[in-house]
């Protein structure tokens, strides 16, 4: 009886919390639209001239402004945009005249695929290295990990990308060049936009391997900074936990070294690491601009750079909205997960 009561209280608590958080997400998304719109208004630049160029005639410019509503006052433009947005319409790109939603659909899967790969690279490298460093505090493995972490965090993505392409692709030939597939490969029909999945759906294992193979270098480049951060975080968290009383108690009770690390230390050290993971994934999803440029990756990062340089406001707005949503959702997910792992945390 008591347990049932507590459970239902917990469910009510969590539900109320979720509602509050979802309300917050809506607020964040509205803030994003407002800020983006405001910035687009103060930037001294004319989208019509940017789209039509030097040779455009006055009547063409006028027609462009009217067609895209740019001749109306800013607050009217904003109201029109928000009204469309509430009806699920992200508008048309000024540059390509294509619905922004189609562009997002086309380019976002490539970014998700790359970001997830980079995320796994960061996890696979960052966490074990952090643990190794912590267990060997101030000994050579720790020093090496710390130096690598420093390098990984400080090397510009652009430089690292070109370096890896030059060494591992052009010189050694171990990894393929830029792009998602070999230039001579038969691209599978587009179903999900995820190359790894689409190649499998097309029953083409050879191209599937090729798509995985093409993911390695860009994922390493994109994930390196995150791996460095994770290694530092994990090391710090492990050291903190290893100095706790209960670890000493566990050791005193005769638990083996590996049992202490795996059962007692790792789980507790995971908590602070988990908080950064969400932020990392969000950062990867929205921060892939340079990696996508170097590796000719047809993702959202490249789309937004091209759009921004041609002052394509609806396109930029679409991407910022998407990024805002992704961040808010990941943060929410992390918070829920956090409370699940650590029973001391209550929703409230």
């Amino acid at each position: 009886m008591a347990t049932g009561y507590r459970l239902s209280l917990w469910v009510i608590d969590m539900f109320a919390y979720l509602i509050r958080r979802l309300f917050f997400v809506v607020f964040v998304v509205w803030g994003v639209t407002f800020a983006t719109f405001f910035i687009s208004q103060v930037v001294p630049a004319d989208p019509a001239l940017a789209a039509l160029g030097d040779n455009a005639r006055e009547d063409q410019i006028k027609e462009f402004r009217e067609r895209n509503g740019l001749d109306k006052p800013a607050y009217v433009q904003y109201a029109v945009y928000m009204n469309k947005l509430l009806h699920g319409d992200l508008g048309q790109s000024l540059r390509t005249s294509r619905p922004v939603i189609d562009d997002l659909r086309e380019f976002f899967p490539a970014t998700i695929e790359l970001s997830l790969a980079a995320f796994f690279v960061a996890l696979l490298i960052g966490v074990p290295f952090g643990v190794i460093a912590a267990l060997n505090q101030n000994r050579p493995p720790d020093v090496i990990v710390r130096i690598l972490a420093l390098l990984g965090g400080a090397t510009p993505v652009f430089f690292l990308g070109i370096l890896l392409l030059q060494v591992f692709h052009a010189q050694l030939g171990w990894f393929p060049g830029p792009g998602r597939l070999d230039p001579y490969a038969l691209t599978p029909p587009r179903v999900t936009g995820f190359m790894t999945i689409d190649t499998l759906l097309a029953h083409d294992p050879r191209t599937f391997w090729d798509s995985l193979y093409h993911l390695v270098l860009p994922a390493v480049v994109l994930g390196s900074a995150s791996a460095a951060l994770l290694a530092r975080m994990t090391r710090g968290a492990m050291l903190e936990v290893l100095s706790q009383d209960y670890i000493r108690t566990a050791r005193a009770k005769g638990a083996s070294n590996s049992a202490v690390i795996l059962h007692h230390a790792a789980k507790n050290a995971a908590l602070p690491v988990l908080t950064v993971l969400g932020g990392l994934l969000g950062g990867l999803l929205s921060g892939a601009v340079l990696t996508e440029t170097i590796f000719s990756w047809p993702g959202i990062g490249r789309y937004v750079t091209t759009s921004a340089s041609s002052l394509d406001f609806p396109a930029v707005m679409g991407v910022t909205l998407l990024a805002g949503l992704v961040y808010a959702t990941i943060n929410l997910a992390v918070d829920l997960l956090y409370a699940y792992i650590d029973p001391r945390i209550k929703y409230g």
């Binding site: 005639r57 050879r206 391997w209 995985l212 993702g299």
Partner: protein, 522 residues
């Protein structure tokens, strides 16, 4: 390291060394194709759009090789221009047996439909038909299945009309196929964005935006390509292009830096193809009364003060052609005269004669962008230092390109560093904008109103005989050279690096590359 190697090699084995396509019949062309927004010949007005549609569609007349002054037969085997007194009648005789990729024959009704379509769509390039050629719905008629007649008013230039037909706007579409894909009266515009219905040597197989454009040989084409497939692979970053070219992943690279070109130039596995672009990089000087550049002698002084050779050889590493006149090399009417040789002493003397022996201070406006191969800021700094030597103090103001244009178009700039490309491959694409104040283009922006120049430009535009036209342009270019508000700096080269295995690559000043002539050695 072993692990990395193991991972790489095992994945490579998984991927398989021989991929699905034959490497000698497929050519991979790497470049920054980001500007491609449509493959519709009636809408496209960007560089990559032109490159693609030129190979998907045929035009009535065309240019061959790098010569942009002699028209050659395309879908029309013959054409003629008649002066009717009220205007011009241009008659085209189509060759029989040209086929679209659908297998249907190209007939006069398709030509008329294609012209009507451009007029109805009102796309970015439609003004070429409406404003330059003064065409209206009904101007083009099919006299019989193989004869098309186009009526132009007296005010339009028949030569300019023929020249602009070589542009993608002149691409003839399969009217039945396009009508079948029409949605809500859009003349098939949505469908043609990423499909093709032409008689060119290739068909558009697929376009993965920001990834690749796959062109496959058109089995019904009159001009049969040597290759089965050409793939435009998006590689926006020059470093990525360099690496991909070195490793053999691409056969041609489009946007390499001058330093990379130099390195590839000395590598026997590659060849550098240089072609002229029709773009002119120039300085515009505001000749409005009260402006420091109102006096023609001051403008002459600027032209004497700028060291063009230094800019071309040291800043651009030779990747440009020296030019001082307003019609670019490659077009009819090009004038190779280099009247102004670098002479700071003469510049100072002219400034003294103009009553400003100690020079003056002014604003030099340029964009926060790349000017051909170098940052605009670098080019502006070079101009600034050249002008400083004769006492002219330029304050560089670097702003967003569309803002530069806004100020310039409102006649508010003192001096601008910008570029101009003609709208279509005809000398009038430069002559009228740069000479006729009333055309509200470049002469207007620089407040240079010279009725003689304007009249010459109009006369040359309407002249139907190429030789007479060229003679008129010679007079005009010399007049603008000495009196105009411009200091033309150079015509940038367009450089392409090819693997030595690639043969048949020719690119004209309009950036047309005929893929049907390309082949690849094993």
């Amino acid at each position: 390291m072993q692990l990395v190697k193991w991972l790489g090699v095992s994945l490579a084995l998984g991927a398989g060394l021989a991929m699905a396509q034959d490497r000698t019949s497929t050519l991979i062309y790497g470049g920054d194709w980001t500007d491609l927004i449509t493959a519709d010949p009636g809408v496209s007005y960007e560089f990559t759009g032109g490159l693609v549609t030129d190979n998907l569609y045929e035009t009535l007349v065309k240019f061959e090789g790098t010569d942009l002054s002699t028209l050659k037969p395309g879908l029309a085997e013959k054409w003629d221009v008649k002066n009717t007194g009220q205007g011009w009648l241009v008659t085209f005789n189509l060759r029989k047996g040209s086929k679209f990729s659908t297998g249907r024959e190209v007939t006069a009704k398709d030509v008329v439909y294609s012209i009507e379509r451009v007029l109805a769509i009102k796309g970015p390039s439609s003004f070429l038909y409406t404003d330059v050629a003064n065409l209206k719905p009904g101007s083009a008629k099919a006299l019989d299945p193989y004869t098309v007649q186009v009526a132009l008013p007296k005010t339009a230039s028949p030569q300019a009309f023929l020249n602009l037909l070589t542009f993608n706007i002149g691409g003839v579409v399969d009217s039945e196929e396009v009508k079948a894909h029409e949605q809500n009266g859009d003349w098939g515009k949505a469908w043609l964005t990423d499909h093709s219905a032409g008689s060119g040597p290739f068909v558009l197989n697929r376009w993965d935006r920001n990834s690749q454009v796959v062109l496959t040989a058109n089995p019904n084409a009159r001009l049969q390509p040597k290759l089965k497939q050409v793939i435009l692979r998006y590689l926006p970053e020059p470093q990525a292009q360099r690496v991909a070219l070195e490793s053999g992943e691409i056969d041609i690279a489009e946007n390499l830096t001058p330093e990379m070109l130099k390195a590839f130039g000395s590598n026997p596995k590659f060849k550098v193809y240089k072609s002229d672009n029709l773009r002119l990089r120039y300085i515009g000087m505001n000749a409005k009364e009260g402006s420091p550049f109102a006096n023609p002698k001051v403008r002459e002084a600027v032209r004497y003060a700028i060291n063009q050779d230094d800019i071309i050889n040291n800043l651009l590493l030779g990747n440009a052609t020296k030019i001082q006149t307003i019609i670019p090399k490659g077009l009819l009417g090009y004038n190779s005269a280099t009247y102004y040789t670098y002479n700071p002493a003469r510049a100072k003397q002219l400034l003294a004669e103009a009553g400003v022996p100690n020079g003056f201070e002014f604003e030099l406006l340029t964009a926060t962008a790349t000017c051909d191969f170098v940052p605009c800021a670098d080019l502006a700094a070079k101009i600034q230092s050249d002008l400083a030597k004769v006492g002219l103090k330029a304050n560089i103001k670097q702003i967003q390109n569309s803002e530069v244009l806004k100020i310039y178009r409102a006649q508010q700039a003192q001096m601008v560093l910008v570029a101009w490309s003609p709208d279509f491959p005809d000398p009038d694409g430069n002559a009228t904008p740069m000479s006729d104040y009333n055309a509200k283009s470049l002469a207007y922006r620089n407040v240079w109103n010279n009725p003689t120049a304007a009249k010459l430009a109009q006369q040359a535009a309407l002249e139907p005989t190429p030789a007479k036209r060229a003679a008129l342009y010679k007079i005009l270019t010399e007049l603008v050279l000495k009196e105009g508000p411009y200091a033309i700096l150079y015509q940038p080269a367009q450089n392409t690096v090819l693997s030595v295995k690639v043969e048949g690559y020719v690119r004209n000043g309009q950036n047309q590359v005929r893929f049907e002539n390309l082949s690849k050695q094993p």
